[in-house]
């Protein structure tokens, strides 16, 4: 496949089609509506299911139903839509069915605006719905990475029978960049043995998140927690950039993460030994690697397009090894390289003798 110039929203939608997506249910919301537009044509062309539901609440429950039947299914939305889906996300987690959700974050709270933001971090990683669960949360920082992560999301969702959220933002969705799409994959014909497929010549399968007995529900929860522990042990992903000899560490993901690669280059030209840890999984968070790096560097600057949400995970993981500062922009404002550099320089002045 040749590299093409692709808009993020269209790239992830087409990547899903090529990964054998069987059904898509969604409701349009900026900044990801191009994905629905693209899928409304492509899914029909391929003889698959595309349905624009009457709301996000309906869409996520359709996703839940399709996932229960063992087919590859997804939806995509942005913050306000994800909030509406929260009930369904919890049912999906409780029922242990594989689902992929793409969330192109926009400025909030409330209706906010349609500009890029990273203010859904805590919502996605900690409280995507009621009850004890975490989705796997993947954080792409380029059009190529969201293409790759859609494929990864399906694999992880099915491997662990879990909810996976691909957490982009308006900038990743709206920007065009060169990317290589995966080759066309056939739709999987077989269904997993746990799926509800009609129960002909076999005992019925039951997909539910309802366990009326307390002990039974506790058993279900223990099973879920065991799975989450396994995911934490196996699925942490991150990218390091120039951290080998770093005195200072930037921690940033997604759009803020890629901006920080420019910051690292400029800071190094100015003589500051800076490295970047860019988490690719927000849950599970790269705690162990961060703790090691916190022991190596003299100071850490966390950069987010929010008031400081991942910051809490960085503080927890780094413990008290190195002083941690934060720089963030909110409401859809993208932080510029120069602003971050100023904060980095201030940190350097404070911690480096």
């Amino acid at each position: 496949m040749a590299r093409q110039l692709l808009k993020g929203n269209i790239a992830f939608a087409e990547a899903a089609v090529r990964n054998g997506l069987v059904a898509y249910f969604g409701y349009p919301i900026t900044p990801q509506s191009e994905a629905l537009e693209h899928l409304s044509g492509r899914m029909v062309e391929e003889g698959r299911t595309f349905l624009q539901a009457e709301s996000e609440v309906a869409a996520i429950n359709m996703v839940y139903g399709a996932a229960s039947s063992g087919v590859r299914v997804m939806t995509s939305t942005s913050g306000p839509g994800l909030a509406l889906m929260a009930e369904g996300l919890s049912y999906i987690a409780g029922s242990e069915v594989p689902v992929v959700v793409v969330n192109m974050m926009r400025g909030g709270p409330g209706l906010g605006n349609i500009q890029p933001s990273q203010a859904d971090y805590l919502f996605m990683t900690k409280t995507a719905g009621h009850g004890d669960f975490h989705p796997i949360v993947l954080a792409p920082s380029s059009v190529q990475e969201i293409v790759d992560m859609v494929g990864l999301a399906f694999k992880l969702a099915e491997k662990y029978r879990t909810l996976v959220i691909v957490a982009g933002d308006g900038a990743i969705g709206q920007m065009m960049e060169s990317a290589e799409l995966p080759s066309m994959q056939q739709v999987r014909r077989t269904r997993p043995d746990w799926a509800v497929t009609g129960a002909r010549d076999r005992e019925p399968n039951v997909i539910t998140s309802l366990y009326l007995g307390a002990e039974k529900l506790e058993q279900a929860n223990l099973r879920l927690q065991k799975k989450l522990t396994e995911i934490k042990a196996n699925e942490v992903r991150y990218q390091l950039y120039q951290t080998e000899d770093a005195d200072l560490l930037l921690v940033a993901y997604g759009t803020a993460g890629r901006i920080c690669t420019s910051v690292v280059r400029e800071a190094r030209r100015a003589g500051l030994k800076v490295g970047l840890l860019r988490p690719q999984t927000l849950w599970p968070f790269p705690e162990a690697r961060l703790a090691e790096l916190a022991g190596q560097v003299s100071g850490i600057l966390v950069v987010e397009m929010s008031a400081g949400q991942m910051l809490e995970d960085v503080q927890r993981a780094a413990q008290s090894h190195a002083p941690i500062r934060f720089y963030g922009r909110m409401g859809g404002v993208i932080p510029m390289v120069g602003e971050i550099l100023e904060h980095l320089q201030a940190l350097a002045d404070a911690v480096i003798q």
Binding site: L5, P31, M175, M176, E177, R258, I259, V263, R265, G338
Partner: protein, 184 residues
């Protein structure tokens, strides 16, 4: 190192997003890293629209910049917004048909081109964007004008096909004007 950070800015409908995309396609065709990112707020409809295009031999980090190395401004609001932001030693391409004021920047290369008038002469005011892109490509040398023409041929929509030749002419006129003393 080939590297440029450009803003294309104008009214919605002047084709600033397409001009930027065409530059990005040309960059990709010449095997550069490229990013194209639009302002996609509600201001796009009828108000000002802009996009930032980065072409580089180096992998691109930040897709937006405070001080671009070049700006193509197609109307007065864009001139007010970007004239002072262009980096020292950079390039400012001005559509003088709609921007009456001269630029005061003397440490920036300024090209003053009556692009809308030229486009009207060529039969369609909407190809003013190509006049300015032609001038931009000639002045920066970031990609070959022929590459831009090839990519235009590949990416011009079916509906706009009849305007292919006038678009070529517009690109050509712009590139010639970039070299004329009256422009500079």
């Amino acid at each position: 190192m080939r590297h440029i950070e450009t803003v294309f800015s104008g009214f919605g409908g002047q084709g600033v997003l397409f001009a930027g995309q065409l530059l990005a396609y040309a960059g990709l065709a010449e095997e550069l890293y490229v990013t194209w990112i639009p302002s996609y707020g509600p201001e796009m409809r009828g108000g000002t629209a802009n996009c930032t295009v980065i072409l580089s031999e180096e992998k691109i980090g930040a897709p937006v910049v405070r001080n671009p190395s070049a700006a193509v401004v197609m109307n007065s609001p864009s001139m007010e917004k970007y004239e002072l932001l262009v980096r020292k030693g950079g390039l400012l391409v001005v559509n003088s048909s709609l921007v009456s004021r001269k630029s005061n920047r003397d440490e920036v290369q300024v090209l003053t081109i009556p692009a809308s008038d030229i486009a009207t002469e060529l039969g369609n005011v909407r190809i003013a964007n190509m006049v300015l892109l032609g001038a931009f490509v000639e002045a920066t040398g970031i990609v070959a004008l022929d590459t831009v023409k090839q990519q235009l041929n590949e990416h011009l929509s079916e509906r706009q096909r009849k305007w292919l030749e006038p678009n070529y002419t517009a690109l050509q006129r712009g590139s010639e004007l970039a070299l004329e003393p009256s422009t500079v």
